[in-house]
Amino acid sequence: MRGRKIAIWVIIGYLAIALFHPFIANDKPIVCKINERLYYPIFDDQPIDLSASEWKVMALIPYSASTIDTKASFQPPFKSNHILGTDILGRDTLAGIFKGTEIAVKIGFISVFLATFLALIIGLSVSYLKRFPIRLSRIQFVIIILSFLFLVYYSWISMFKGFLFFMVPLLGLLMVNGILAWLIPHKWKTMNLPIDVFYLRLVEAMKAIPGLIFVLMCVSLFNEFSVSGLTLILAFLMWPSISRFIRAESMKILVQDYITAARAYGASGFRILLRHVLPKLFTSLSVIIAFSISSAIIIESTLSFIGLGVPIEQVSWGSLLKEAQRNISAWWLAVFPGLALFILILCLNIVGEKKVVD
C-alpha cells in the first residue's frame, strides 16, 4: 500500500518536471532587467542583448538540453558546473534528462489517453449494441452492406478529390436506407445488427499487426516524424486491446439487473452507459492505462535509441542512451537516463499491479 503511494508521487513528480522543466533547466534567464525594464526571456523569443542587463535571475541549472558548452566536453558528473556531466558536444546531461522526460510524458500519456478515449467510445457502444441489439429486417441489412461497399468503391474511384465528393453520396445513401426502413413491413423476418462481429474481426486484424514493425513502416513512409505524429501512431496501435477490454468489462455490467431496471424505467442507452457503466470501469481501466503508458514510453525510447524516433535535434532518453553506446567510457550518459526511464516504468507497473491485487 505504501509502495503504491510512493509510486504515485514519483509519477506526479515526473509530470511536474515535464511541465515545468524550462524553469529548472534553461540557458535563458527567468527575469532580467535591461534599461529599467523587466524582461522574461523564458516566455518570449525576442532577441535581447543579455550582456546589457543590470541583473538577471537564472534557472537552477543554467543550461538547456541543446546548449553547447564548448569548454566542457565529456565532463564526468560532480566535477564541474554540470551536475550529471556532459556529452561529447558539451550538452548538459541533467537538462537532457529533463527534456527527455517531457517527450516521454507527452508520448506516453497523451497517446494512451487518446487511445482510451477512442476505445471507450467504441467499446461501450459495441457492448451496448450486443446486449440490446438493433433489430432490422434481413433485406435492409443486405442493402446497408451494399451501400457501404458502394461508398468505399465510389470514394476510391473519385480518388478522395474533396469533402463534397464523399458527403453527397453518403447523404444520398442514408436517405435511401431511411426510406427503405420506413417502407419495409415490420412482419418480415428480422435479425440483430451484427456490429459486434464486425468489431471483433476489425480488432483481431489490428492486433495481428506487430507494433514495432508498424512504427518502422511508418518511419519509412514519412521519412521523419514529429512528437505528435508518433503519439498518433501509438494511439492507433493501442486502442484495439483497450477497447476489447472495455467491451468485456462493460458486457459484464450490462447483464446486471439494475441495467434491465434502468431500461424499464426509461433511461436511454447513452444515460445507462454514462451513469451506470462508465463509473464502474475506472478501477480496472486504470490498470491497463498504467501498463499501456509504460509500454508506449518503452517503444518511444527504443525508437530513439535506434535513431528512428523523434527528430534528431530533439533530445530524448533514447537518444541520450545512444550517445552512451558510442562512448562506453562515459558511464554517466548510460546510467542517469537509464535510471530515469527505469524508475518511471517501475512506478507505472507498481501502480498497475497493486490495482490488480486489490
Binding site: Q256, D257, Y258, T260, A261, A262, R263, A264, Y265, G266, A267, R275, H276, P279, K280
Partner: protein
C-alpha cells in the same frame, strides 16, 4: 419423541467472540444432547452461524474466541484433531460443490478419504446414500454436474455427502434458505425420517420458525450475540421465556390469525389471452396463459421455481415480449413497474438511495422528492445518503419498492420480493405493502402460498408453464380440489402449536 435425558454430545461453556473489540457473541453456553434435534434461531446477523462454527474451532481468523469449555463426546475440540463424526452442511449447497466434478464422484471422494471403503464398493455406497436421502433418480444424479441438478437435489447430495462418514452429529446451516416451499416440506420430511431411522443428533441453524416448529425438539433463541431462550419447542411456542422471544411468537401468531380479503373487485384493467413465451431453443417458459387483473386488485401467482411465473411477470411488465397471444389493456407499459427479486443486484451499487430515486423521478418528470417515497415505505430520511450495500436486506427491498413507486405506476409486479429475508422481515414487508400499495393493482409472484394468503384477493396457481387454477384466495384455500394446489397449501406449513388456540 426420543429420550432427551441422554448424555451430552457437544458442550460449549461461556463462548465469547470479538471482532476488533466489537463484541459479537457474549457469554453464550449451550449443549447438544444425544439423539435430539436442536434448533438455533435468530435474525440475520445475530451470530448463530458464527456461534456454531466457533464452538467447533472453525471461526474466521480475525475473530478472537474465548471459551471456558468446549467438548465433544467428553473430549475437548482442537483445530488439528477435528472429530470425524461431525458433518456440516453449509448454507449454499451450490457453492459448496465443485462445479467441474460430477456429483457422484464428489460423494465418492469423501467416502474414500474418510472411511475404509475401497474404490469398487464406494459407488455402491454412494448409490445407497442417494437412496437414503430419497433422490428420485440416483443414476442420473450420480452422472450429472452440480449445475445440471435442481437446488433441492443439490441439498440432498450435500446431505448424502454428510451422511457418508456416518456422523453422530449433523449440523445444517440454513438448510432450506434457497429452496422452494414445496421442496422445503419434502426436505423436512426427509430429516424427520433420518432422525427416526438413524438416530442422528441434528443441529439446525435457521431463521425459519415454521420449519423449525416442525422438526426441532429444543430451540435456542439468539439475538445480538446473547442467548435469550433455551426451551423445548412446545414451550417456546406457548410460553416463551424472554420478552423478545414472546414478541417474535406473537408476531408469528398474529400473522397466522389474519382474515382473508373479501373486497369486491373493481373493473378489469388488464387482460391476457393465450399468452405464450418460447425461447429460441424451443423451450417454452409458459404456454397459452389467460390472466385478468382488476383495478386495485392484488393477484398472487404461486408456483415452484421453473414454472414460468417470473417470465410471465417480465412479459406483462414489458421487459421481455410475448411470442404469441393477445393483450388488452388501457395502461401503457411504462406505467407497469416491475420490482426485482434481488434488490441488491437491481440497484446500482455506486449510487446513493437518493440518487437512485432521483434518477427515476427525473426520467418520469415528477416534481416529488425522494423523501416522499422513503416515507411511503417507512424508511428514515438518513437512508437516502447511504448506498445499497450499506443497507439490511429488508431496507434494500423497501428501497426497491420505493423505486417502483417512483415510476408513478398503475400496476406493480413484485417478483419474489421477500426471497432471502428473515421470516419476520418478510411479514413486515408484506404488511407494509398492504398499506402502501392500497391504491395500486399488484401482481405478487411467490413460491410460498402462505405469504400471499392474506395479501391477495385472488391467487393463480402455476405449474410447468400453465395456470392450473385461479380463484379467490379463500376458495383456493378451502375448496380447491386440485392435487397440486393442495400440495402447495400443505407445504406452506402450519405451526401446530397455534392450532388449538
Amino acid at each position: 419423541m426420543q429420550d432427551l435425558e441422554g448424555r451430552k454430545v457437544l458442550e460449549i461453556g461461556s463462548l465469547k467472540i470479538d471482532f476488533k473489540n466489537k463484541k459479537v457473541i457474549n457469554n453464550l453456553s449451550f449443549d447438544v444432547v444425544q439423539g435430539e434435534t436442536l434448533a438455533i434461531i435468530g435474525k440475520t446477523g445475530s451470530g448463530k452461524t458464527l456461534t456454531v462454527l466457533a464452538s467447533l474451532g472453525l471461526a474466521p481468523k480475525k475473530a478472537t474466541v474465548s471459551v471456558t469449555k468446549s467438548s465433544y463426546q467428553n473430549n475437548s475440540i482442537t483445530h488439528s484433531l477435528f472429530p470425524n463424526d461431525i458433518a456440516i452442511v453449509f448454507q449454499n449447497a451450490g457453492m459448496a460443490l465443485n462445479p467441474t466434478i460430477k456429483c457422484g464422484r464428489q460423494v465418492e471422494r469423501v467416502i474414500l478419504r474418510n472411511t475404509t471403503v475401497n474404490k469398487k464398493s464406494s459407488r455402491v455406497k454412494t448409490m445407497a446414500l442417494f437412496d437414503k436421502v430419497k433422490l428420485s433418480d440416483p443414476n442420473r444424479i450420480y452422472n450429472s454436474y452440480p449445475h445440471e441438478v435442481s437446488g433441492g437435489e443439490l441439498q440432498r447430495v450435500m446431505i448424502a455427502m454428510a451422511l457418508s462418514c456416518e456422523p453422530k452429529l449433523l449440523i445444517l446451516d440454513e438448510p432450506t434458505a434457497s429452496l422452494d416451499k414445496l421442496i422445503q416440506s419434502q426436505f423436512v420430511k426427509l430429516l424427520q425420517e433420518l432422525k427416526l431411522n438413524e438416530g442422528i443428533t441434528i443441529l439446525i441453524i435457521s431463521h425459519d420458525l415454521i420449519m423449525v416448529s416442525e422438526i426441532a425438539d429444543r430451540i435456542i433463541h439468539i439475538d445480538r450475540g446473547e442467548k435469550l431462550a433455551d426451551q423445548k419447542t412446545m414451550f417456546f411456542f406457548q410460553e416463551p421465556e424472554h420478552p423478545i422471544s414472546r414478541k417474535l411468537i406473537d408476531h408469528l401468531r398474529s400473522w397466522h390469525l389474519q382474515r382473508f380479503k373479501s373486497d369486491t373487485l373493481d373493473a378489469i384493467i388488464y387482460e391476457l389471452n393465450k399468452g405464450s413465451k418460447s425461447f429460441p431453443n424451443g423451450n417454452k417458459a409458459f404456454d397459452a396463459v389467460d390472466l385478468v387483473l382488476h383495478r386495485k386488485e392484488k393477484l398472487g401467482i404461486v408456483g415452484e421455481s421453473g414454472s414460468g411465473k417470473s417470465t410471465l411477470g417480465r412479459c406483462i411488465a414489458g421487459i421481455s415480449a410475448f411470442t404469441a397471444g393477445k393483450e388488452w389493456t388501457d395502461i401503457p407499459k411504462s406505467e407497469i413497474a416491475y420490482i426485482f427479486q434481488d434488490a441488491y443486484n437491481a440497484m446500482d451499487p455506486d449510487l446513493t438511495v437518493d440518487d437512485i430515486l432521483n434518477e427515476v423521478l427525473r426520467l418520469r418528470n415528477s416534481d416529488k422528492e425522494p423523501l416522499d417515497y422513503l416515507k411511503m415505505v417507512k424508511l428514515d430520511a438518513a437512508i437516502g445518503q447511504r448506498k445499497i450495500q450499506q443497507l439490511s436486506g429488508g431496507q434494500r427491498q423497501r428501497v426497491n419498492l420505493a423505486r417502483g413507486l417512483a415510476q408513478q405506476p398503475k400496476v406493480l409486479i413484485c417478483d419474489e420480493v421477500t426471497a432471502g429475508l428473515d421470516l419476520q422481515v418478510q411479514y413486515d414487508l408484506i404488511k407494509l405493502m398492504d398499506l402502501a400499495l392500497h391504491q395500486f393493482s399488484v401482481i405478487f409472484i411467490s413460491h410460498d402460498i402462505s405469504l400471499v394468503k392474506f395479501f391477495c384477493h385472488r391467487i393463480a396457481i402455476m405449474k410447468e408453464g400453465n395456470i392450473v387454477e385461479v380463484g379467490k384466495t379463500e376458495e383456493i384455500f378451502t375448496k380447491s380440489r386440485n392435487d397440486y394446489t393442495i400440495d402447495l397449501i400443505n407445504s406452506a406449513g402450519n405451526v401446530k402449536y397455534f392450532l388449538n388456540m
